[in-house]
């Protein structure tokens, strides 16, 4: 591929060794992020979204977690081979990350100003004054009124939405090329979520960084992502652009997911739920992990593991249905 990618993740495997078995939290994931684009990662709880993101940052809690295989190429450099010290130079500087829960992600005993300038002073050789000025600008950028005064406040003096804005400001402090947002709006109310999504859209337009947006809300995906990766039980099941994902979903799981969402139509139809529940990652059976719940599953699905395949240009799916014969769903 001659394209210029900001980030390329190749065959990433991250696992946890626990008392009750090995959890393959990320099990062979491949994707790439182009400069300035927004990549969405969706999937149910426990499907490995956060671990994929933390693997990129090399912040997988270790022990018990460990990246066991794969490459993470950032501008062509493999992050996996980097030392902890080199990584600290990249984190918060080239790649930033914001987390789901703005309530707990800020240190409660330091002022917001302290936490904001800290990032700057770590990565940029600036004076305290300059850092404070920059921090004021940042707060202004993310839409916090009266930024100068607010710098002296502690996190608990902000509302949830405000805190998430502070988190975003902190992530943007050093003009990163890539922003990873792990469910940044899940803990927020819809009206506040709308504010944050608008803000992210605006910032991306202005600053031009790439975003990896992790979410379980297909609505959010539909709204801001350029391309989407769907994960199930640590595996990547589908990877394509958002229009194809919603218009022509290929994987039965994606399809089931879309059908599970109540549509706001006048005529109420019974929901088409996916049966069963996600598998225990410690005791994965052979074959496709979705086979147990898949309405299209065949005997072979329980034996043979599918591979990720480009079934149509720009549309990758991991399902046996497409490996043997081309089938279209509904």
């Amino acid at each position: 591929m001659g394209e210029n990618f900001l980030l390329q993740v190749r065959d990433l495997h991250t696992q946890f060794v626990t008392q009750s078995g090995v959890v393959k939290a990320v099990d062979g994931v491949n994707f790439e992020v182009k400069p300035g684009e927004t990549l969405g990662i969706v999937g149910e709880s426990g499907s490995g979204k956060s671990m994929t993101a933390l693997s990129i940052m090399k912040l997988v809690p270790s022990p018990p977690g460990e990246i066991v295989k794969g490459e993470i190429l950032y501008n062509g450099d493999d992050l996996i081979k980097k030392t902890e010290k080199q990584m600290r130079h990249i984190r918060g500087n080239k790649i930033s990350m914001i987390f789901q829960d703005p309530m707990t992600s800020l240190n409660p005993v330091f002022t917001v100003g302290e936490q904001l300038t800290e990032t700057l002073r770590t990565h940029r050789n600036v004076s305290k004054r300059q850092a404070l000025e920059h921090a004021t600008e940042l707060l202004n950028l993310v839409g916090i009124p009266d930024p100068k005064a607010r710098l002296k406040n502690y996190p608990h003096e902000f509302s949830g939405g405000m805190r998430q804005r502070v988190m975003i400001a902190m992530a943007l402090a050093c003009d990163p090329e890539l922003l990873i947002a792990d469910e940044p709006t899940t803990a927020l109310d819809v009206t506040v979520q709308a504010q944050i999504l608008e803000l992210l859209k605006k910032l991306q337009k202005e600053l031009g960084m790439a975003i990896i947006m992790i979410t379980h809300d297909l609505g959010v995906v539909a709204e801001i992502c350029d391309r989407v990766m769907v994960m199930y039980a640590g595996k990547q099941v589908e990877f394509t652009d958002r229009f194809r994902l919603f218009d022509v979903p290929k994987h039965p799981y994606t399809w089931g997911l879309l059908n599970s969402i109540p549509k706001m139509e006048k005529e109420k139809k019974r929901l088409k739920a996916i049966s069963g529940h996600p598998p225990d990652l410690r005791h994965l059976r052979k074959g496709c992990p979705f086979a147990e719940r898949c309405p299209k599953a065949k005997a072979s699905c329980r034996i043979q593991a599918p591979h990720l395949q480009e079934v149509e240009p720009g549309h990758l799916v991991s399902c046996l249905l497409y490996e043997e014969e081309k089938v279209t769903l509904e």
Binding site: R88, H89, G92
Partner: protein, 334 residues
């Protein structure tokens, strides 16, 4: 803030009343006759009678209590039955010894305990972690009276390194200002006395400080581990901060809050532990004194000492509480 402190102080009033009643009642319930213990076995019945009258021992208990409290409020803690000296004097000559010992033990405990706890948490599962936590486990299980004896046996009897008892060697002279010998010897520039009093306080200080040290180390470690697991630490790491900053700035300030409370509580332990330590090391402090006074039913002494110790204990906890809130910006007072 001031309001908060005043409110907390007011809240202490019922506790103090309770404590004083308890201290008062406990002592009256002890079997035996203080008049007799005062006069000895050669006293006549008549002598006993007149002494009892003098000490108001024949009054009903509530009357005794009321008159005691009236005096306490006036700042008069009464006279020791045994020595006839004013209780305030008796206690104030011994209290500095106990406080010096307790503070010394506490400082050792905090310095070593907190450091060991931080390093253990930061280097979880390292040999240091295993070693210090095993040590801490032995520490919390330690009968300190035995530890004290073993220290004496080793360092005094066998090795002759440290003196087995007292605060200062007999021939050593020290001009007392604060009655904390270590402080006084520094203030007067008397290095010989400083070395001497340090040699004396080492063993009792360590014996007394062992359990708090172990508790503080364990608490610091688990508190640090808990904090290190929290989201904001992940944020700090994601910002690319250096590791020492993450641990000593972001984690420690949060983790220290619960440790602070534990430290406050340890002070009470130290005051109690002083009974045993002071007995073993012949330390002329209140711990030993109150124990002996309990045995000889020296009512005014025991009552007042218990009251003073309880007040100190409660105040220390109040102070740690206030510090806690002072350090934690999330808590407001109004």
């Amino acid at each position: 803030m001031i309001n908060y402190i005043i409110r907390r102080l007011l809240l202490l009033i019922p506790v103090f009343i309770g404590v004083s009643i308890l201290a008062f009642a406990l002592l009256r319930l002890i079997p035996g006759d203080p008049a007799k213990s005062m006069l000895g076995n050669k006293a006549t019945e008549a002598q006993l009678q007149s002494l009892r009258a003098e000490l108001k021992l024949n009054d009903p208990l509530p009357v005794q209590y009321a008159s005691y409290m009236k005096d306490v409020i006036k700042g008069d803690l009464g006279k020791s039955i045994k020595s006839h000296d004013s209780v305030i004097k008796e206690i104030s000559t011994r209290l500095p010894a106990t406080i010096e010992l307790s503070l010394f033990a506490l400082i050792i405990a905090i310095v070593i305990g907190v450091l060991a706890g931080i390093i253990s948490a930061a280097k979880r599962s390292s040999w240091f972690d295993h070693l210090s936590m095993t040590g801490a486990l032995f520490g919390v299980s330690m009968p300190i009276f035995w530890l004290g004896l073993m220290m004496i046996w080793l360092f005094s009897v066998t090795l002759h390194w440290l003196p087995p008892s007292g605060r200062l060697s007999v021939g050593t002279h020290l001009q007392t200002i604060t009655n904390f010998y270590l402080v006084d010897s520094i203030l007067t520039g008397n290095w010989f006395a400083f070395k001497d009093s340090l040699a004396h306080i080492l063993m009792p200080g360590f014996a007394l400080g062992t359990i708090p040290m172990a508790i503080i180390a364990r608490m610091t470690r688990s508190s640090m581990l808990e904090v290190l697991n929290q989201d904001f630490i992940r944020t700090a790491n994601a910002k690319g901060l250096a590791k020492y900053l993450v641990i000593f700035k972001h984690a420690l300030k949060n983790a220290f809050l619960p440790v602070l409370t534990v430290i406050g509580f340890q002070f009470g332990f130290l005051l109690g532990g002083a009974v045993l330590t002071e007995t073993i090391f012949s330390w002329p402090g209140v711990g030993r004194y109150v124990y002996q006074s309990i045995l000889s039913r020296d009512y005014p002494v025991v009552q007042s000492t218990i009251l003073i110790i309880a007040v100190m204990f409660v105040l220390i906890n109040l102070i740690t509480d206030i510090l806690y809130k002072y350090f934690d910006p999330r808590i407001r007072y109004d």
